[in-house]
């Protein structure tokens, strides 16, 4: 079962950002790539929620 964001919100990568790498402050949960997030379908909702809610990254949007 895919990991879900704690907030229950659902996020996706905005068009035009796929394939890029975003480097953020080190997240407070363990992940193999640390602060590097490759914007592909491999990112789970926990990663996308971190980008959207903590980093306020513009390349991720909430799915309504």
């Amino acid at each position: 079962m895919a990991k879900q964001a704690k907030t229950g919100n659902s996020y996706r990568i905005k068009p035009g950002y796929e394939g890029k790498d975003v480097w953020t402050p080190l997240p407070d949960y363990p992940r193999p790539d640390g602060a590097k997030f490759s914007l592909t379908s491999d990112l789970d909702q926990v990663d996308l929620a971190f980008l959207a809610e903590v980093v306020m990254y513009e390349g991720v949007e909430q799915v309504s």
Partner: protein, 171 residues
Amino acid sequence: MSLAGFARTCGLQSGGVKRVYLVAVPDIASLTLVSQTYTAATMEAGKVFKMYEFEPDTCEWKEEVKITNNCIEITKTLDFVLAKMSTAGRAVVSEIALASACGMIAIVEDNNGTKWVLGYTENFLKLRPLQVESIAGGTGKKLTDASQYVFTLKSTDNEPCRDFSGTVPII
């Protein structure tokens, strides 16, 4: 606009620069700004910044604000020294000179641990990056003279530098 003032802090501080990271403009997509701090760097796939190890106490970044005809102009300058003329040094000169055409963006970590972004602003994004002002290589004349390369990179825009709180993209 009202002034906000400034509160002095009493902590110790250090001058100078600890680390310099550079990336060619085509390799970086954007920086994410939150509350006047860049929090994340978006890179083209697989691209990262490169660190340039300079001689201790030879690196400095400066910004000079000028107002002319009520127009603001801010010049950012980054100087650093690589020791000993060599084949490896020649390669650095070559790559930085070539990268100057499209320009470079720097993250400069000062000796207080604050990382600063040079060559990228919100008003211009990647349009006014750092470019080579000069690279001076020389052996000196005496046995005790320095054999070195002195790099000077410069950009001009209209915003003071911002700090970077994210993880510097390096491998």
